[in-house]
């Protein structure tokens, strides 16, 4: 069997991509996380009677806490298998990445394991965020002198 024929057969036997189904699940679960966030946002606004601007960070802290606990229990990773991007794009995915890396390093001890591994995946997001906002912010700062 030559290579061409082999590739052709291998291509046919590949499991079909279920793009629509995966995208739908990502939309539904990502949207559900957004709705839960909205629930906490309005709860804190009514409970402590504070402005929406101040309630935002408290809502984010709550969701980060929930995601960290769910990761510890192993539920968030199972959700991630179904939801795909629906679980790693909201801020809960950032919390999940940090917690699961910290858990993986537990066998190596507290300092070289947990504390050193905590930024393994989440650190990339922080680094890129800072570099991008430094460049773009610097650009806007320079431009603001001329306008």
């Amino acid at each position: 069997m030559d290579e061409k024929k082999y590739n052709q057969i291998a291509e046919e036997l590949k499991p079909k991509k279920q793009v629509f189904k995966h995208t739908l699940y990502a939309f539904l679960i990502g949207g559900a996380i957004g709705a839960i966030g909205e629930f906490f946002l309005e709860l804190y606004q009514n409970l402590f009677s504070i402005s929406e601007k101040d309630a935002g960070p408290i809502m984010i802290i709550t969701l980060v806490l929930i995601a960290a606990i769910l990761t510890g229990l192993g539920i968030y990773d199972r959700l991630g298998n179904i939801a795909g991007a629906g679980s790693f794009i909201p801020i809960t995915g950032f919390s999940n990445a940090m917690t699961s890396c910290a858990l993986d390093g537990k066998t190596e001890g507290l300092v070289t394991g947990v504390a050193a591994n905590i930024f393994k995946l989440g650190g990339a997001v922080i680094t890129f965020g800072i570099v991008a906002s430094f460049i773009l912010g610097g650009l806007r700062y320079v431009v603001s002198f001329f306008i």
Partner: protein, 116 residues
């Protein structure tokens, strides 16, 4: 109404990310990083503030909001301290998210056992 708006926008961002994930070979890490850069870029013309006004939590939750608030904090400080304000104010608005994520990740790692 706010719930529906929030649901739609957060779901929309996740669906876009999922489509990128399906049709390219990028890993979740690459996609989150590029979304953060997109968020910072959208704040260049104060566009993201409008999104938060319309969609509330739906626009605050996706990782794009992380880039937006980094940029927003940095730009706010430049008014007072000039170019050094970029570094001084960078974490002003995201401090809550990052500190709580580190804190809870540490405590969860101490309490729970690894499952993988």
């Amino acid at each position: 109404m706010n719930y529906i708006m929030s649901f739609l926008f957060c779901g929309f961002v996740c669906a876009v990310a999922q489509l990128i994930y399906e049709y390219t070979k990028l890993t979740p890490g690459h996609i989150t990083c590029s979304f953060v850069v997109v968020g910072a870029f959208l704040d260049l013309f104060h566009f993201y503030d409008q999104l938060i006004k319309i969609f509330h939590a739906g626009a605050m939750l996706p990782i794009t909001s992380f880039g937006h608030s980094l940029m927003h904090g940095a730009m706010h400080m430049t008014k007072e301290y000039g170019v050094f304000g970029l570094a001084m104010g960078m974490f002003d608005l995201t401090a809550a998210g990052i500190s709580s994520a580190i804190l809870f990740a540490f405590f969860v790692a101490v309490i729970f056992k690894s499952r993988s």
